[in-house]
């Protein structure tokens, strides 16, 4: 019993780290859920858009001297605008077709975007230094050191997730969006510009990915494949949470970070696999996902 208590005490910092990593899952799966919920598009370019967010932050810093804080706003706006172009020029043509077409298109886009970045910036990655002001948030508890920047990631991601959920569930715009998902023609008949709303929704989902990218830039190396490493796990998160469920995506994101944190301590070999084991169990018992409506 004492052994177990000791183990748990050791595990606590790892669990905290896991939940912080879960912030990235939550942000990314939130963007995917928003896009899928409103547009019915499985956005496989999400990883590439996450990567673009990090790269734009790096470009702003190294070529224009624009630092972390403005980049946190500017980068999602810039990448969101790229999202607008993608939606207008390509994705909007596929709304009437099967999901699979949107998936193939966005997957192709992801490959092209990654290839372009790799050709231009190489494969070994760029560095983005953590802004020094976060040192003030550094936590030191006995043996355990938690960098202030990770604390900030948790705060920022939670705030953005909560904000997005409030906008969609509690505001008038959110209600239009939800209505347009169910009955687009009817909503349009009330004089609401549904295609514009779709475009902006896609851009917002993309901007969320880019925001996560800026948050990730100081932690991970900024390189073209950084999104591809994340995206598979994030799709599992969306499936577990329930496709298109905003709440499901956020809660599941943090939850899986927590589970991975525990797995990292007790059986690190399985820390990736555990997500997919959970996905299989959820699909068998609740095919619509934990928070999905069947």
């Amino acid at each position: 019993m004492e052994d177990l208590l000791f183990e748990l005490q050791l595990a606590l910092p790892q669990v905290i780290l896991g939940v912080i990593n879960g912030s990235f899952y939550a942000l990314l799966s939130l963007g995917l859920a928003v896009i899928f919920g409103m547009l019915n598009v499985i956005n496989f370019a999400h990883g590439a858009q996450f990567m673009m967010g990090a790269f734009v932050a790096w470009l702003l810093l190294s070529y224009l001297g624009i630092g972390y804080w403005p980049a946190l706003i500017l980068s999602p706006l810039i990448v969101g605008f790229v999202g607008v172009l993608m939606e207008r020029l390509m994705i909007s043509r596929l709304y009437k077709l099967d999901h699979l077409y949107g998936l193939l298109l966005t997957f192709g886009c992801a490959l092209v975007i990654e290839g372009l970045f790799r050709n231009t910036f190489g494969s070994s990655g760029q560095r983005y230094t953590t802004p020094p002001e976060f040192r003030a948030l550094d936590l030191e508890l006995a043996d355990f050191f938690l960098p202030g920047y990770r604390v900030w990631v948790l705060i920022a991601a939670s705030a953005v997730c909560l904000g997005t959920w409030l906008v969609i569930e509690k505001t008038k715009i959110g209600s239009y969006l939800r209505a347009a998902t169910e009955r687009p023609q009817l909503v349009q008949a009330f004089g609401i510009n549904v295609p514009l709303m779709m475009t902006l929704t896609y851009a917002a989902g993309v901007a969320l990915a880019a925001f996560a990218g800026v948050l990730a830039a100081p932690i991970y190396s900024v390189h073209p494949a950084m999104g591809a490493n994340f995206i598979i796990t994030v799709f599992a998160v969306v499936v577990i949470g329930g496709m298109g469920s905003i709440m499901g995506a956020v809660v599941t994101g943090f939850l899986l970070g927590f589970v991975q944190g525990i797995t990292d301590v007790f059986y690190p070999e399985a820390s990736q696999t555990v997500v997919f084991v959970i996905m299989a169990i959820v699909l068998l018992t609740r095919p619509a996902g934990l928070f999905g409506r069947a």
């Binding site: 494969s123 070994s124 230094t129 043996d143 690190p268 820390s271």
Partner: protein, 414 residues
């Protein structure tokens, strides 16, 4: 939904398969033309250590060999193997059967290298491997047609593992990528650590690919109180491990050191000295090692992305230069007729070039040259761009690689 022909074609078109384009073939000149195929990663994580930069280095070797002045044509082509053995084999088969390639160069990624190794032997051409790590190329799978030029897992493990224990790193903890490469590197390094009187306190196996956060593993390593954290991983995994070790101040106070078991100078460039300082690693070439390496770096010019040459790219230069010397010595016709004969001639001649200095090639195909244990400088110690390493110790050529009789190579008569 229905999948029609058009959809399928579209899907196929998006797949990232950009095979080697056939080059102009002038059959009339074929007998007097040496064709070199540079096969490596042009689009993935090894692009910066090999990629188009390797081709650039090969072109320099062709130019400096002086062979074209003697009326011999040399053609250089390149292709992307995407780190996939099937893609690599297909390209090499086409190159040899259709395009008349005489020598295949570079080929990072051990699985692809082993596939190409078998194929080149079957076709009796020449394989000069610079990029791959596996020591099997000169061990169980050694071939009369293959020379393994730059480094291998044994050499890295011995350099970093053995030398670090002697430098005071007695206790070790491994962070190992959970696949064959990581396991082999951990196993080999453990052997040297224990042989030198050190101890391994523990380790974690991290899922590959897909692990992005190493902070939990690093903290476990720190709690083990080991003096050295050995990173038995590569590429992005290593970069993330080192970056996050700095973030979590794992090495502060100087009690713990990080040992990168496969780290290239381009990785250090990507990380920056602020983050990478204090890291210990083994390489066989560093651009700023001596006057000759600096002269080579000057002549080869900036690599794509404005990088300095890696040891893999330098190995491509050195290997092709030596091959062309052998061709000049034995004649184009003889060299083209039998790859094994060309390799024999290369083994019979001592090597000499600016990148690796004086060296030789052993019966099992192992190129011998010294290896260097480096420590990454602090930002204060660095005097300028790309001034990254300080030399801790030099491992002489006869000690840097696996002893000839231990590899299990069938070409070696005991």
């Amino acid at each position: 939904m229905t999948v029609n022909r058009r959809t399928l074609l579209g899907a196929v078109a998006t797949a990232p398969v950009w095979g080697a384009l056939p080059f102009r073939s002038a059959r009339a000149q074929a007998a007097n033309t040496i064709r070199i195929g540079v096969l490596n990663d042009q689009s993935g994580l090894y692009r910066d250590i090999s990629g188009p930069g390797s081709t650039q280095a090969v072109r320099l070797a062709v130019q400096e060999s002086g062979i074209t002045q003697r009326g011999v044509n040399v053609e250089v082509v390149e292709a992307d193997h995407q780190n996939r053995p099937d893609v690599g084999s297909t390209v090499v088969r086409q190159w040899i059967d259709r395009d008349g390639i005489d020598v295949v160069v570079d080929v990072p990624t051990s699985s692809v290298a082993l596939a190409v190794n078998t194929l080149v032997r079957e076709k009796n051409k020449v394989f000069i491997n610079s990029g791959a790590a596996t020591s099997d190329l000169t061990g169980a799978q050694c071939s009369p047609n293959t020379i393994h030029w730059t480094y291998d897992t044994y050499n890295l493990a011995k350099g970093t593992g053995g030398a670090m224990v002697r430098a005071g790193g007695q206790t070790w903890f491994f962070i190992t990528a959970d696949y064959a490469f990581g396991h082999a590197l951990e196993r080999d390094t453990t052997a040297f650590v224990t042989a030198a009187g050190g101890r391994v306190l523990g380790g974690v196996r991290t899922p590959f690919p897909g692990t992005t956060d190493f902070s939990s593993f690093l903290q476990q390593a720190q709690r083990s109180r080991a003096q050295v954290i050995g990173l038995a991983n590569a590429g992005g995994d290593t970069i993330n491990s080192i970056k996050q070790a700095a973030e979590f101040r794992i090495t502060r106070g100087g009690r713990t050191k990080l040992a990168g078991l496969l780290v290239f100078v381009t990785d250090i460039h990507s990380l920056g000295l602020e983050v990478a300082q204090g890291l210990v690693l083994t390489e066989t070439f560093y651009w700023d090692l001596n006057d000759r390496t600096r002269a080579f770096t000057q002549r080869v010019g900036a690599m794509p992305g404005n990088l300095r040459p890696s040891m893999v790219q330098a190995g491509c230069y050195s290997g092709v230069l030596h091959y062309l010397k052998a061709v000049a010595d034995m004649g184009v016709a003889a060299a083209k007729a039998s790859g094994a004969e060309a390799v024999n001639r290369m083994k019979a001649m001592p090597t000499s070039d600016d990148a690796f200095g004086e060296g030789s090639i052993r019966a099992d195909g192992r190129k011998l040259h010294p290896a260097y244990l480096f420590e990454v400088k602090t930002p204060e110690e660095s005097k300028g761009a790309w001034d990254y390493y300080k030399l801790i110790s030099t491992i002489p050529a006869n000690e840097a690689f696996r002893p000839l009789n231990e590899g299990g190579c069938a070409l070696v008569r005991s």
